[in-house]
Symmetry: C2
Subunit: 260 residues, 2 copies
């Protein structure tokens, strides 16, 4: 049975028109599907409104106790429930989940030798039995990037990582495709030229492109994640523009990443 | 199969110690169970922090578009996910839902001849097939008082009403008890004396107590709701203090409301 796992980033969530158009195409995707959404700027706006200062290290939000309250609100509340309501309006039977719901995603608070990331969670386990049960009930799952530690603590977790971990775990049961949608058309030969998409990359080509320094730094964690997923049994990983979701899934757009 | 549906009010949610103690007893309740939680003061605090003025009419929050964003955040995000995480920590396999999730609770925006309540929803349908499937997967359901209209709009709905509507619908499938927990020990003969609990009321006694004006005004909507639920097949309705949940379910505390 085929399963599509699609991650959308903040740039889509922040733009009402883009989000509506994306949800039109997502609702029309055939077969079992899971959407994983990131955060976007709303959390920052709410935090600013409430006078909570946001600290970023290496592009990651430091999640202190007050910030965790905000991201739990915004990600698992506003964003998740609005996406679910909009998918329901499109005839897609969506159910929104955080990692705490049904113990879907168990994580632990990140331990780092020098940086205290606060309430940031690294994933330990995906509850594939729960996810499979819900998918077999014909539900579309919509994940917010909030997890828990099993001891009552919510944690803030990277949405790319959640999508990858779910894909790895469920690839044992489903024929799984993982789509990372973002603001560019795919992996580019020339970061300045959105028409220079590399349609297909395998592990050998990736090694070569990295050595030639063709692939810009920001793509490397995404591609490393993609190859990790492929080595764990995920069928294919596709990187491209959210607006082109049907074409991405058909392999007609974006970059498809394969093992061989 | 027995099903307990328990509604907790804002006074428990606002008090971390009371909430933790309540969740201890709730996690220990045997059999299938559903928790419906109200809002509490956090939504008001967040709205004030963000400079959104709250308007109340007859004790109900008028839910304008900005207020709806706040209640969706706080109820479906912070409160719901924290309760779920804390139940998971107690070995109770909880899953949090709004009415939009899996189209669990369909509602419509309230139409009123003179008052514009804003984005307040009155319940049209409970998705008993979804709820039954999840209960049969041994999940404990935790509902926030957020519903949707099936057209993409989230709505703010009274938690007492949600508990009652779920109880009515599921009483066709389960042997259902409905518990309204609040800040008093039960229905009182003397509103000033918390020891004057009436242990059992049937329809005839209710009529008489109303005529004698023994029952104070604030209890009447709760009791009317309770009798509506009983007439629709709910086995029993219990009103009492959240701190006494095991005693309430055992009929050893609070007021049990029965048809005959």
């Amino acid at each position: 049975m085929e399963l599509s796992i699609i991650k959308i980033g903040g740039n889509i969530i922040d733009d009402e028109t883009k989000l509506a158009a994306f949800l039109d195409t997502f609702a029309a995707v055939k077969g079992k599907k899971i959407l994983v959404h990131g955060g976007g700027k709303l959390a920052t706006r709410v935090a600013e409104g409430l006078g909570i200062r946001q600290q970023m290290i290496d592009g990651r939000r430091i999640t202190d106790a007050e910030t965790l309250k905000i991201v739990a609100m915004v990600y698992a509340g506003t964003i998740n429930k609005n996406i679910v309501a909009q998918l329901q309006a499109r005839g897609c039977d969506a159910i929104g989940l955080s990692g705490a719901d049904g113990n879907a995603i168990l994580a632990h608070k990140r331990v780092h030798p020098t940086i205290d990331y606060g309430y940031v969670g690294d994933v330990d386990a995906i509850n594939s039995s729960l996810l499979t049960s819900l998918l077999l009930l014909d539900k579309t799952l919509v994940f917010s990037p909030i997890t828990h530690d099993g001891k009552g603590q919510l944690l803030n977790t990277n949405a790319d990582t959640i999508a990858q971990e779910i894909a790895r775990e469920l690839s044992a049961i489903f024929e799984t495709s993982l789509v990372y949608s973002f603001e560019k058309s795919g992996v580019l030969m020339n970061a300045e030229d959105d028409n220079s998409v590399i349609p297909r990359i395998n592990a050998a080509a990736y090694q070569e492109l990295k050595e030639q320094q063709v692939i810009f730094a920001g793509m490397i964690p995404k591609l490393d994640n993609a190859f990790t997923a492929l080595r764990s049994g995920v069928g294919k990983v596709i990187i491209g523009r959210a607006e082109e979701l049907p074409q991405l899934l058909a392999g007609a757009s974006g970059t498809t990443i394969v093992n061989e």
